[in-house]
Amino acid sequence: MKWHFRKPSVLPGFGLTLGFSLTYVTLLVLIPLGGLLLYTTKLSWSEFGAVISDPRVVASFKLSFGASLIAAVINLVFGLIVAWTLARYDFFGKKIVDALVDLPFALPTAVAGIALAAIFASNGWIGSLLEPFGIQIAYSRAGVVVALVFIGLPFVVRTVQPVIEEFEKEFEEASTSLGASWWQTFSRVILPSLMPALLTGFALSFARALGEYGSIIFISSNMPFVSEIVPLIIVTKLSQFDYVGATAVGTVMLLATFVILFLINAIQIYSREKSL
């Protein structure tokens, strides 16, 4: 018997929980997001275009996307190294280090922002080391990247770590017994199997970085055309009651988020099909 909506079950509570969930999700998520999208339709295409193509806004898009991309790449490389180390090696203090990797996720973004600003300012612990070389991190675009690296750090590590942990050593042994060097084993056998997790972690890190606000505004100089990120533009427009402008920019950001989510799902489905 083909069931039409719901598979019959003896367990109670379907109606209750379905009702509650739908109500909650509708009120809290659908209506507000719908409100945003509906507001977007208030704009004519030309209004929308005008906001999006405003040079200051364009500059902020470039900065947000660019810095997020760079930070995600840095997190990809170093996240892999950290995940590898935690998954395969034992060392003194490992448990503490392992737990600390989640710090960027547990720490409020504002706290992260002021802490990183303090460290990388020209009189800060690291900033002062770099100043003689003329390298300025805080209050510059480099600062934005640094903050985004912090924010995205756990994503690659935690997505890749379990995959490395579960990787059976027999694959390495098989590859080596067939004559492969360590690098060949890594690049031809290990890395391909880590690809889905790496890509997912990268995408998550990137998505997180795009929307990040709290940690950036303290370490960036927030100057229009130079170091102003997209979320800040939205906040600024709202404080000027420019709802139209804020909505237009916000819609673009939301679209970008959806695209990334879609890509992540696609990666998951693809890798499941190949049962990697």
Binding site: E170, S175, S177, L178, G179, S275
Partner: protein
């Protein structure tokens, strides 16, 4: 290529995995390392391959000391219990792997690789699935691909770690025979590890029986089955019934009966080993010397019948294997006292000496 294993020792923390192992595997032979878990057989195999390092001792390939050679340079083909096929590569790519990772100087051309891989796939009768991925293959197919992959690099020695352990009974049987005929065709020195004595008996030229890090016996399947060197080998290969008895100058006191034996001394405890098919059951003890027993259970196993009895005297369980014809007679008297006789047996006294007992 012959393999010589000389004074190999290996410990893992407090556990002795291998204790002074000495073994020679002649060129072209198919040898089984047989033993229960913890016997050290897999450890020994991995040491031969170079995947583990022995604490002391030497391995020689054709007389050359390879103990310090890295596994990738030893020229061994290793087949893992769970195949370890590279999931993201097709069957073709898997088999070609060993050829592709060769340094430029020794790497064959693309056409040559193609040709070699297809020849191998034909050898294992799987040429038609060259483009499939491991996840699309059955267990038996995967194991054959793993074998082809190991053979592709033309190894001097083939090492297999419980190659059929993860397969269904029927597939296991088929692959066993297939491995044997493959070996007959290509005559590569092969060593495989198994805990399945049936497998070892059926497939190998020689069996090395191992237990707790030591070698118990080395011999052909017949030698090891018919002339086991000690109780462990006896009971590990095939089913066995164990009786406790006393020897008293030429006679063995057992249950309610006395049997004639060679002179083994007097007043000694002894153990009697009898295989199920070496037991005869009579209904009337006409020949004498039968042990009184009653029938407890029976079941058909293919063309034979497994009969379970309990001795009346010492209440010992006895498992016998008889033909269907013999069973008809017994069955008619299933509630009467029956008599157990031995057509062949082995006696083992405390002095660790074996004696045949033949009626």
């Amino acid at each position: 290529m012959s393999i010589q294993i000389s004074h190999i020792n290996k410990r893992f923390d407090n556990f002795t995995a291998l204790d002074n192992i000495n073994l020679t595997i002649p060129d072209g032979e198919l040898v089984a390392l047989l033993g229960p878990s913890g016997s050290g057989k897999t450890t020994l195999l991995r040491i031969i391959a170079g995947l583990e390092e022995a604490d002391s001792g030497t391995i020689y390939f054709n007389g050359e000391d390879t103990t310090a050679t890295h596994v990738r340079d030893r020229g061994v083909g290793f087949v893992f219990q769970h195949y370890a096929l590279f999931r993201h590569m097709s069957v073709f790519e898997n088999v070609a792997f060993g050829l592709r990772v060769r340094p430029k100087e020794t790497r064959p051309s693309e056409e040559e690789i193609k040709e070699r891989v297809h020849r191998l796939l034909q050898l294992i009768q799987l040429d038609w699935i060259a483009n499939r991925y491991p996840s699309q293959l059955s267990g038996g197919q995967r194991q054959r691909v793993a074998l082809a992959r190991a053979l592709a690099v033309e190894p001097k020695v083939l090492l297999l770690d419980e190659p059929f352990g993860a397969l269904d009974a029927k597939v296991r049987q088929e692959l066993r025979q297939w491995l044997r005929s493959l070996h007959d065709e290509i005559h590569i020195t092969s060593v495989f590890v198994t805990h399945d004595q049936e497998e070892a008996l059926e497939v190998s030229d020689k069996i090395v029986v191992m237990n707790q890090g030591k070698i118990e016996q080395i011999g052909t399947p017949e030698e090891v089955y018919d002339r086991p060197a000690n109780p462990f080998v006896y009971s590990f290969l095939g089913n066995v019934n164990l009786f406790h008895a006393r020897v008293e100058q030429g006679s063995l006191h057992l249950e309610n009966t006395e049997l004639n034996t060679p002179d083994l001394g007097s007043s000694k405890e002894a153990s009697l080993f009898v295989r199920p098919h070496e037991i005869n059951i009579s209904i009337d003890n006409v020949l004498g010397g039968g042990i009184e027993a009653k029938l407890i259970g029976w079941r058909l196993v293919g063309p034979r019948v497994r009969v379970e009895l309990e001795t009346l005297h010492a209440h010992q369980r006895v498992e016998a294997e008889i033909s269907k014809v013999e069973w008809q007679t017994i069955k008619a008297h299933e509630n009467d006292t029956l008599f157990v006789h031995f057509s062949n047996a082995r006696i083992y006294t405390n002095e660790a000496s074996w004696n045949d007992y033949v009626i």
